[in-house]
């Protein structure tokens, strides 16, 4: 059994900046538990001799040289912005901090 409790759901919703009603919290507690339990079945077949997979394709060391290429025009950069001041994106003030 997974350990998805209503508190966990509220915490995750907070991290994801999603407002949930109490009804939704109850519903997602059940649904997420099902999903997590389903994924947890992997544990039953994964034995210690199976190495962890970090990527589905067995490739490593895909690099590019340190050479400047094309950049976007600023108008194109800002084209998708809901709000901007002509040079920078404008966003609501968020009580938080730079990471």
């Amino acid at each position: 059994m997974s350990e998805i409790t209503p508190e966990v759901v509220r915490h995750l919703a907070g991290l994801a900046r999603i407002a949930l009603t109490e009804e939704e919290v109850a519903r997602f507690t059940g649904e997420l538990s099902h999903i997590v339990d389903a994924v947890a079945k992997v544990n039953e077949v994964a034995t210690p001799d199976v190495p962890a997979t970090s990527h589905p394709i067995p490739l490593a060391n895909v690099f590019r040289p340190d050479v400047v290429g094309e950049t976007l025009d600023r108008a194109a950069v800002l084209a998708g912005a809901p709000e901007h001041d002509g040079s920078r994106f404008r966003v609501s003030a968020i009580l938080g901090e730079e990471q």
Binding site: H11, L15, A16, R17, S54, H55, I57, L59, A60, N61, V62, F63, R64, P65, D66, V67, V68, G69, E70, T71, L72, R74, V77, L78, G80, D85, S87, R88, F89, R90, V91, S92, A93, I94, L95, G96, E97, E98, Q99
Partner: protein
């Protein structure tokens, strides 16, 4: 609480996360230029702004730099290393996640030797050094303070987003005691020296190339378990790192001595008041929901590459200090002043450019440090070593007097160009052309006709009045020694 009292009651434990921006030509995962000070949002490729369908590709040079830095920190280099997504919602990254490393960092288990002011060595244990991308720059608008609280909105420039970073994380540092604040400063200065010696970063704190988060916790003497820590951000000079650690030790000691508890949180350093204020409660690693980055494949550095980079490592800063002290012939006190002022690499570079060591020291610890102090910036941010060396050469060759050289220095600092350009554009060169000097001397002698007689009577110091008058007439640009010679010749003749 008084610092001494705090240390009687508690043992401080430190930890640092230092972010180093690598000076690659392009960003970590895309081919946009890695530039400082460009017009907002002009150094952007699709990955920077999280455009759908855009995919990151790792910059090979950034990996090489990261491995070199890891080796210089005495770390082991991972056989296989991978990137991870660190998920968080904040507009400094458009993707809603930062590509970082989590369980498989490129470098781990190192140590750095840090020298305190009195020459004692302290070993700082390094847990890991991992690769990641920098975030964009937010400007908070509105509100009285320009800080986050009270801001009405924020403006975002993504030029810095995606710039390659190496984050160097220490293990808990115990045993520093009352040296903790000084060790904090010395540690960050040592990291700067290391990355500069490697040439992997410009490491200018005032530009944010090198940023330090300082973790501080206290525990009663003799207790094994670590106390609750705070993480102070926004400490962007060596001096503030020292002050912030000292402040946190005193603040936490007062709370604990009063029976209170420390909240695990990030705190912001305020340079103006010399205090910290609470930010948000510190997230647990779980809250970032790290998972392996699906858009990138692992980095598996060949042992041949690691050995090639190891062989190319420059001299370690501690060893370099010992060598330079011997080469330069400074006294213990002189050398310590240089190290404590954080000017070792500036002076070393100036000497490499051809200046005499004592001249390089005189300018950096004198005039340049004075101006830096007045402007509250690091001396190294004001002027390039090759310009200082050029200035010294102009004084040595007699083209500039010390006084003129100080004027030229100010002009160079204010962006008027290299010293020779300033001399030319301002017409500042010393006049040692005898014709021009004699004309001025004769004019001065005409106004003070008794001077020559005084000199002939043996009062050679009377020449000073003429030298002063000539200097005044020529705006300080006369070669004083030559004027003196000429005046004495006139007296003889």
């Amino acid at each position: 609480m008084d610092f001494d009292r705090a240390l009687e009651l508690f043992e401080p434990v430190l930890g640092f996360e230092v972010h180093v921006e690598l000076s690659t030509r392009t960003k970590m995962f895309l081919e946009a230029p890695n530039v400082f000070g460009a017009e907002p949002n002009t150094a952007i490729a699709p990955v920077d702004v999280g455009l759908p369908g855009s995919l990151p590709v790792v910059n090979e040079q950034a990996v090489r730099y990261s491995i070199s830095l890891g080796l210089a920190l005495g770390c082991s280099i991972a056989e296989s290393s991978r990137f991870a997504r660190k998920n968080y919602f904040y507009p400094d990254l458009a993707k809603n996640y930062q590509i970082s490393q989590y369980d498989e960092p490129i470098a781990f288990d190192g140590e750095v030797e840090v020298e305190l002011e009195d020459g004692r060595l302290f070993t700082v244990p390094i847990e890991r050094a991992h690769m990641e991308e920098d975030a964009g720059k937010l400007t908070h608008v509105g509100g009285a303070t320009g800080r986050i609280h009270g801001a009405e909105f924020s403006l975002v420039d993504y030029n810095r987003a995606g710039v390659p970073l190496v984050e160097i994380v220490t293990r808990p540092i115990v045993g520093a005691g009352r040296d903790a604040p000084e060790l904090a400063r010395a540690y960050v200065a040592t990291i700067r020296d290391i990355v500069r010696a490697l040439g992997v970063s410009e490491a200018r704190m005032e530009r944010g190339n090198l940023r330090c988060d300082a973790n501080v916790s206290l525990r009663p003497h003799g207790q094994r378990e670590l106390g609750t820590r705070t993480e102070t951000k926004n400490v962007n000079s060596f001096r503030s790192v020292e002050r912030a650690v000292r402040y946190e030790i005193q603040r936490q000691a007062a709370i604990l001595a009063d029976g209170g508890t420390i909240v695990q949180e990030t705190r912001h350093w305020h340079e103006d008041t010399g205090t910290t204020s609470p930010g948000r409660p510190k997230s647990d690693a779980d809250d970032y929901r790290y998972f392996p980055e699906p858009d990138l494949v692992p980095v598996v550095p060949s042992r041949a590459l690691v050995e090639e980079l190891r062989a190319a490592l420059p001299e370690a800063p501690a060893a370099m200090r010992r060598r330079l002290k011997a080469e330069w012939g400074f006294t213990d006190a002189e050398f310590r002043d240089v190290v404590n002022a954080g000017l070792l690499s500036e002076i070393a570079e100036t000497v490499r450019e051809g200046a005499a060591p004592f001249q390089a020291r005189k300018w950096w610890t004198g005039e340049i440090a004075r101006i830096a102090n007045a402007r509250e910036v690091e001396p190294g941010s004001l002027v390039a070593p090759q310009h200082v060396s050029e200035l010294i050469a102009l004084v040595e060759s007699g083209e500039l007097t010390d006084r003129l050289a100080r004027q030229v220095l100010e002009a160079v600092i204010d962006g008027e160009g290299a010293p020779h350009e300033v001399v030319e554009s301002r017409g500042l060169a010393v006049v040692s052309d005898d014709g021009a000097l004699l004309a001025a001397i004769d004019e001065a002698l005409a106004a003070q006709p008794d001077v020559l007689d005084k000199i002939r009577d043996g009062k050679v110091q009377a020449a000073g009045a003429i030298i002063g008058a000539v200097m005044k007439a020529m705006g300080g640009s006369a070669d004083a020694a030559r004027v003196r010679e000429l005046v004495l010749e006139r007296a003889r003749g």
